[in-house]
């Protein structure tokens, strides 16, 4: 089987992190985002993966070669010279996607969930039509495009209602599809939207079904959602009793959902959790309080600091008694001085912060 991952642009919404690394290489739950997807696809029997990007991701190639070898798969980078939307890239990669008659997966690289590729493929095969959209249930369907099924059919899609003002259902497109190669005939090589053009076209012919997603789902394209998504991911690890998590019985773990790379060092008298990810080679000092935060590799949080709802970028340093909160994001190699308070600061790489950031601000 084959898959196409829609990576798109630079991932500007996830700046300042994506000023340093392309979004697919940013670690989510101590694993690069793209690796979560490649791993799950390979496990479902996918042998060819196309990454649809619209910039030259030199740094990515190194990692992709590594993953090709690791999983015994082929990874192709398909570069759009002008952005082709969400459907155009499929046409551009037609050669790979139609190399055999098996269906192919399509996924948005921003989406994280417990990828149900095997079940999805089985379901798709069973209904026999051209395409299947993974859907997730949301609490506030009025903010999304909602899927409405045909009367008397549990999965065949009748229509899409964009931002419904009246309740018509609560299933929304989760950004993961499985499509037959025949769908490629419906797409022209031009900037075009799969949601607005290809799918309505398939719906007209009764060729599109929905598949309900179990468990969590999150678009982690921006820092706030990246943190929320991390919480959901860690909760799912807890639910699966993953051995990667630091046991809740550990003295410094508070409230569980704590993922710590074995190479990280934790000081004395810390209180860590819930929902904390600590990357490789991170150093956490004494008396540090961490909750709902991500410390990326090589970062350092000094003694007595207090960090909440914050992403600490690679190699950044958080000073003693510093306090970071409210979706603060430190880019690569940022230094927060001792005793400094940062409230919702987005700090660009290589900056040193010596005065409080009292209200949310971007520090250039």
């Amino acid at each position: 089987m084959k898959a196409l991952i829609l990576v798109g642009g630079f991932g500007t919404r996830l700046r300042p992190l994506t000023l340093t690394l392309p979004k697919p290489l940013v670690e989510f739950g101590n694993k690069r985002m793209i690796l979560h997807q490649i791993e799950a696809l390979a496990a479902a029997g996918v042998t060819d993966i196309v990454l649809a990007v619209n910039y030259r991701p030199e740094i990515m190639e190194k990692y992709l070669r590594e993953y090709e070898e690791q999983f015994g798969i082929n990874i192709t980078i398909s570069i759009e010279h002008e952005p082709l939307g969400t459907a155009g890239p499929l046409k551009l990669a037609e050669e790979v996607l139609s190399k055999d008659n098996t269906p192919f997966f399509v996924l948005n690289s921003d989406v994280t969930c417990e990828y149900p590729f095997k079940e999805l493929a089985a379901f798709h095969k069973a209904h026999g039509d051209e395409g299947t959209i993974v859907v997730t249930k949301v609490e506030e369907p009025s903010k999304y495009g909602v899927i409405v099924h045909k009367p008397n059919h549990p999965t065949r899609i009748d229509r899409f209602v964009e931002k419904p003002v009246q309740f018509v259902g609560n299933r929304i497109n989760a950004g993961i599809y499985i499509l037959n190669t025949s769908v490629l005939k419906r797409i022209e090589l031009r900037p075009t939207s799969i949601e607005q053009e290809t799918f309505p076209d398939m719906v007209k012919d009764g060729q599109l079904h929905s598949f309900d997603l179990d468990g969590f789902w999150m678009d982690v394209g921006q820092p706030k959602d990246f943190l929320t998504g991390t919480c959901l991911y860690l909760s799912s690890l807890t639910k699966k009793a993953s051995k990667d998590l630091t046991p809740a019985s550990t003295s410094f773990v508070h409230g569980g959902n704590v993922l710590i790379d074995p190479s990280a060092k934790i000081g004395k008298n810390c209180r860590i959790g819930p929902n904390v990810t600590i990357g490789p080679d991170v150093v956490v000092g004494d008396g540090v309080r961490l909750q709902r935060c991500v410390l990326l590799s090589g970062s350092k949080v000094k003694d007595h600091a207090w960090v909440k709802s914050t992403i600490v970028g690679w190699n950044s340093i958080v000073g003693k008694w510093a306090r970071l909160e409210n979706v603060t994001v430190l880019g690569d190699d940022v230094t927060i001085g001792d005793e400094i308070y940062v409230n919702g600061g987005s700090i660009l790489p290589h900056k040193t912060i010596k005065v409080n950031v009292d209200v949310p601000a971007i520090i250039m």
């Binding site: 008298n269 209180r271 004494d286 008396g287 309080r289 207090w306 003693k320 306090r323 005793e339």
Partner: protein
């Protein structure tokens, strides 16, 4: 009335006897020192480990010709009893008395009311110190100038920035002779940036007749009182908070009623200090005062201060009965009161922690005053804002909003674990369970 006392040389020197008067005000005053003055009279509030007026007494005790100090104010009798007891044993060469006004008489009115007590022992000169002043009190220098010039009055002056000057009494002086030519209390326009520090040395021959003639003018022409300074100006005046009181006939104030008159016709000189000077007006101004007195103690090699170390950035005062964990980092400019406990890994900077307060582990206290018996939870952060050393204000503009520079917790307040309190004033007995910023918590 015999105010013309015969000149008499002291037997043991060529300086006549000198007395000191500290004007301490009363409980209806000092409202701007709330919430701290709700629990302790402002003159007895501890900065750098000692009550505000203790610092003045220390300076007074270094003037050899002073044996007697009178505290004049209208607090209840018992308020200063313990302080006077302690101070009398600490300064055995000083006889300290509290003279209570039964109604507020004004700074000059109080002096005049107690003239007999003050003149007892026939002092040649009296120092008059406002208690809400924080400075090095260069009293011997003022005395020297007074003798050199055979002055009837010497005022302590300091230079401030032009925009700050109009909040104070402004002095125009002759640069050479140092004679005061003109004095205006809180002028509307710029007159001078040399301002009144609230510390005076008067010849007894001059001051009481001056007050008496002011009283006489008052009785003759009471209407003059109506044209009083605007309430804006009163806001920043020494000791004075209630304007209705000041319009009563009995109230005679040194600043408004006496000094400008003296500039006209007396031997009135100014001693300009280059040392630190601050007014202790609002509660927040205790923080710069604390810092300045601690720095003074450090520079004079005081053995009261905590020894500098990796975790003690001088100057820091720690009361002997306080328990500070060795992993806590303190300073600079920190005073820790009696029986305070500071937990492991706490950080305290530019702050005053008062008696019986508890600061838990890994908390952080910056530019704040922690009230008596208050508790700061673990990983809590209580913070004010750093202020330029040259400012004479305790509010500042932050992100376009006027805020309290110093965070103040009144008596027995509690800050929950991990809570952040920023630029707030918290009245006594409140519990803070949520983060607060730029608020006054009733």
């Amino acid at each position: 009335m015999s105010l013309q006392i015969p000149h008499r040389e002291k037997a043991n020197g060529n300086t006549g006897a000198t007395k000191a008067v500290i004007l301490v005000g009363g409980s209806s005053r000092g409202t701007r020192f709330r919430p701290l003055s709700l629990d302790v009279p402002k003159p007895l509030f501890d900065v750098a480990g000692h009550p505000i007026i203790w610092h003045a007494l220390t300076a007074i005790s270094k003037v050899p010709s002073i044996q007697e100090v009178d505290l004049i104010g209208y607090y209840e009798e018992g308020v200063f009893r313990d302080f006077i007891k302690d101070a009398s044993s600490e300064f055995p060469n000083l006889s300290i008395k509290y003279l209570r006004e039964y109604q507020a008489l004004g700074t000059a009115g109080g002096l005049y009311h107690f003239r007999d007590a003050i003149l007892k022992g026939r002092p040649e000169r009296i120092f008059v110190l406002n208690s809400d002043v924080c400075c090095s009190f260069p009293l011997n220098e003022m005395l020297k100038l007074s003798q050199e010039k055979d002055a009837e009055a010497v005022i302590l002056g300091t230079r401030v920035t032009e925009d700050a000057a109009s909040n104070f009494g402004c002095i125009v002086s002759d640069a050479h002779t140092r004679r005061v030519l003109h004095y205006v209390e809180k002028p509307e326009s710029h007159i001078s940036n040399l301002i009144n520090c609230g510390v005076y040395l008067f010849s007894t021959d001059a001051i009481f007749p001056s007050i008496r003639s002011a009283i006489k003018r008052r009785t003759d022409r009471p209407s003059r009182l109506v044209s009083y300074p605007s309430s804006d100006n009163l806001e920043s005046s020494f000791m004075i908070d209630d304007d209705d009181e000041s319009t009563r006939n009995e109230v005679i104030r040194l600043e408004q009623d006496i000094l400008s008159d003296m500039a006209d016709n007396k031997q009135f000189f100014v001693y300009e200090t280059k040392d630190f000077w601050r007014q202790i007006k609002t509660a927040g101004s205790a923080i710069p005062a604390n810092a300045l007195y601690l720095q003074k103690a450090m520079q004079s090699g005081s053995d009261e201060l905590a020894k500098p170390s990796e975790n003690i950035i001088p100057p820091v005062f720690i009361h002997p009965s306080a328990r500070v964990d060795p992993t806590a980092k303190l300073g600079p400019n920190v005073s820790i009161g009696p029986r305070v406990t500071v937990g492991p890994g706490a950080r305290i900077k530019e702050s005053i922690v008062l008696e019986d307060a508890e600061v838990k582990h890994d908390s952080c206290i910056l530019y704040s005053i922690i009230g008596w018996g208050s508790r700061v939870g673990c990983w809590a952060r209580v913070e004010g804002s750093p202020m330029p050393m040259t400012t004479h204000s305790t509010t500042m503009i932050k992100n376009g909003v006027k805020v309290q520079a110093v965070t103040i917790l009144g008596k027995e307040c509690t800050v929950g674990d991990e809570i952040h309190v920023q630029n707030c004033i918290c009245l006594p007995f409140k519990e803070l369970k949520r983060n607060v910023v730029n608020e006054v918590i009733m």
